[in-house]
């Protein structure tokens, strides 16, 4: 194996983790990563050191992930019912008031300047329940717009908004628990 092929193979575990976070399915993630690695090895001249190898591979992987989502769209959207724990009911009482008032998170730059903040954010995204996680990552990581996501998954716009609403609420709750509401961890991180 030449150096280029070795460097590509060495990144495989990381690509697999990313693919799994997006697809939430082992077999599909394996397929997407294999497709991406094959495509990369087929045209090493396309890389030509233009950027970091990892960044280049992730760019290829993103296309392969969209292919997988397309291929399995029926199965992906068939599971939209799975996570029904009502995050709204946990946060609001029957009259629609906050059970615990939201906290002041302070200057965005203070959080965004910390690498550890993004590690916590990453963890919170990966903890999102299946369908919410998939849809949220299609939106915020693959950067697909609403119409594309609805088309690929065969769901309605209303359906999509409900899923994104829950995902965003969950993410904020997770960040509150693990970062903003946890100064000890923030200092130690």
């Amino acid at each position: 194996m030449n150096d280029f092929a070795q460097a590509v193979q060495a990144l495989r575990p990381q690509l697999l983790r990313f693919a799994h976070a997006q697809l939430r399915n082992e077999a599909w993630a394996e397929d997407a990563v294999s497709d991406a690695v094959l495509a990369a090895l087929a045209k090493p001249q396309a890389f030509a050191g233009q950027s970091q190898l990892k960044t280049w591979l992730i760019g290829i992987l993103k296309h392969k992930l969209i292919d997988q989502i397309r291929r399995h769209s029926r199965e992906v959207s068939a599971t939209t019912q799975e996570d029904d724990e009502d995050i709204d009911a946990l946060l609001f009482d029957e009259t629609g008031h906050w059970r615990d008032k939201p906290a002041e998170w302070g200057d965005p730059e203070a959080a965004c300047g910390r690498r550890e903040f993004f590690e916590v954010l990453e963890l919170c995204v990966e903890k999102l329940p299946g369908v919410q996680g998939r849809v949220f990552m299609m939106r915020e990581w693959l950067e697909l717009d609403s119409a594309e996501i609805c088309k690929e998954l065969g769901i309605t716009a209303t359906n999509l908004w409900v899923l994104l609403h829950r995902a965003r609420l969950r993410l904020q709750t997770c960040l509150q628990e693990r970062w903003f509401g946890n100064p000890a961890q923030r200092a130690a991180a």
Binding site: F18, Q52, K54, T55, I58, G59, D88, L91, F92, T95, G96, H97, W98, K101, P102, A103, E104, W105, P108, A111, C112, R115, F117, F118, L121, E122, V125, R139, E140, W141, E143, S146, A157, L160, W161, L164, H165, R168, L169, L171, Q172, L175
Partner: protein
Amino acid sequence: MKFLFRNCREVTALVLAGEDRPLGLVERLAVRVHLQICEACPKFTRQVALMRQALPRWRAYRDGGH
């Protein structure tokens, strides 16, 4: 006028919906009215704004190698 007065759960839903679709005129007004009289929801709105700034940087962190 009643349509302009929403509770925190409803306003939170509108603020989050605003991340994914344009809000209508009545929706925007209802949010504005509520934010004037509520102490909690403006904080939530600032959390949403922080997330909006953080997510593109999370993407860069994720894709750029760590």
